[in-house]
Symmetry: C2
Subunit: 222 residues, 2 copies
C-alpha cells in the first residue's frame, strides 16, 4: 500500500513515517505544503533508516500530490489546520482512499493541558464532516508520543485506539497499525466514541508533567 | 486510619472496601442511607475476607455516622447522587477529613458510553464546589472496574489517577491507593485536570464493548 503522511515533516508525521518505513513494506509518501520541505525531510528520514540498514521507499511531494497517490492518507497536521488541509486535498480523495486523523484539540494553562474539541464534538468528527461523503474516515494514532515514535531505539509497547463508522476502512488501518512493532490497535467503535479517545492525549501529557519518572507517556489497556 | 465508603454497599464501594480491608491495616467503615443495609454488606464482606483468612475490621453505619468517624471519606455513589450525598454529610466533615470522589458522569447510547460532565466541568469539581471550603477534595479511583476490584483473586496491575488542589491530602490518598496490591497511583495535578481523568471511564467501557478478548478493562501508563 501507499501511505501518505500529510504534514509529514512535523513531529507526529516524522514518527509515523519512520515506523512505517522501518517496520513495514508499504510505500511512504511525505507530504508538505512546500514540496521542497517534504524532500528535505525524506533525506533526513532515509539517512536515519539507512544507518539501521533499512532501504525504505520514502518520497516527498506537495500534500495534494501525496494524497493523490496514496491508499491511506494520514492527516498529521495540527488541529487548527485540519479543516483547511482536508479542503486542500479533498479533490484527490475518493471512496478508495482512507483518511486517517490523529489530531486532538487541546488548550494549555498553568495546570496542564485540557481537552478542547471543536463544535463537532471531536477533531475526528470534524474531519468526517469536512471530508467528501464517500471517503471513509478513521481516527487513529492520537495518543502516541511523537518523540517515542521517532526514536527507533524505543520499544513501543503501546496501544492505539481506533474509531470509524466504516468497518472495512477500520480493519485496514488496524492491520497497518499492528504492523508497527510494539503497537497494538484496539477498536473503540464508531466515530461517535472519538472524544474519549482524543481526551487521552492531554491526559498522558499531564501525567508526564506531574510524574518525574514518566516521559513520553504511553498507555496500554488490559 | 479510618476509611469510610459512603454508598459502600454499591459495586465500586464493595470493591474498594474489600481491597482496603484485605490489603491494608486501616479500619473500613461501610456507609449506606440505610444502616441495616450497611451491616448486611459488612457481613458479606467479612465472610469473603474470612474465607481468605483475613480478620479485618469492617463496620456498617448510616452514611452520616460513617463520615463522622472517618479520616478519609470516599463518595462511592452514582454521579447523580453526589451533590445530595455531600449535602447530607457535610456537617460531619472538617479540614481534617479528606473527601475522595471516584464518580464519573456518563451517558450511553447504541454506540457506547460518552463522557457527560456536569456544568462544573467534572464530577470531581462538582464535589469540590459543594463541599465545605475547608474540606480537601481528591479525585481518585475513577477508572477501576468494580468487578475487577471485588474479585480478590484478580491481580490488579492497574494505575489510578489522582487530582487535588491540596497536596497533603493528595499525598495521603496516594499512599492509601499504593497500599492496595497491584494498584499504582499517579499524580495528574490539580482538580482542573479532572475531566480528562474521568473520561477514561467511558473509554475503558467502550474498549471492553468492542474488543472480545478484553473485559473489566484497566489501564496502565508508562
Amino acid at each position: 500500500m501507499r501511505i501518505a503522511l500529510i504534514g509529514g515533516t512535523g513531529d507526529i508525521g516524522q514518527g509515523l513515517s519512520l515506523r512505517f518505513a522501518h517496520d513495514t513494506d508499504h510505500e511512504v509518501l511525505i507530504g508538505s505544503r512546500d514540496p521542497e520541505k517534504a524532500r528535505d525531510a525524506v533525506e533526513t528520514y532515509e539517512e536515519e533508516l539507512s544507518e539501521r540498514g533499512v532501504e525504505a521507499s520514502v518520497k516527498g511531494f506537495a500534500n495534494e500530490m501525496a494524497a493523490d497517490r496514496a491508499d491511506v492518507v494520514v492527516l498529521s497536521v495540527p488541529p487548527y489546520h485540519v479543516a483547511d488541509t482536508v479542503e486542500s486535498i479533498e479533490g484527490r480523495l475518493d471512496s478508495e482512499t482512507i483518511l486517517v486523523t490523529p489530531a486532538v484539540g487541546m488548550q494549555g494553562d498553568e495546570d496542564g493541558l485540557h481537552y478542547h474539541p471543536p463544535g463537532t464534538g471531536s477533531v475526528t468528527e470534524l474531519v468526517a464532516e469536512r471530508a467528501p461523503d464517500e471517503v471513509p474516515v478513521v481516527g487513529a494514532f492520537h495518543n502516541l508520543a511523537a518523540d517515542a515514535l521517532s526514536n527507533l531505539d524505543n520499544d513501543l509497547e503501546l496501544d492505539t485506539l481506533l474509531v470509524a463508522d466504516d468497518d472495512d476502512a477500520k480493519e485496514t488501518v488496524r492491520n497497518l497499525a499492528n504492523e508497527i512493532e510494539g503497537l497494538r490497535a484496539l477498536d473503540v467503535g464508531p466515530l461517535a466514541n472519538s472524544a474519549e479517545v482524543e481526551s487521552v492525549t492531554p491526559l498522558v501529557i499531564n501525567i508526564a508533567k506531574y510524574n518525574e519518572d514518566l516521559h513520553d507517556v504511553g498507555v496500554t489497556f488490559h
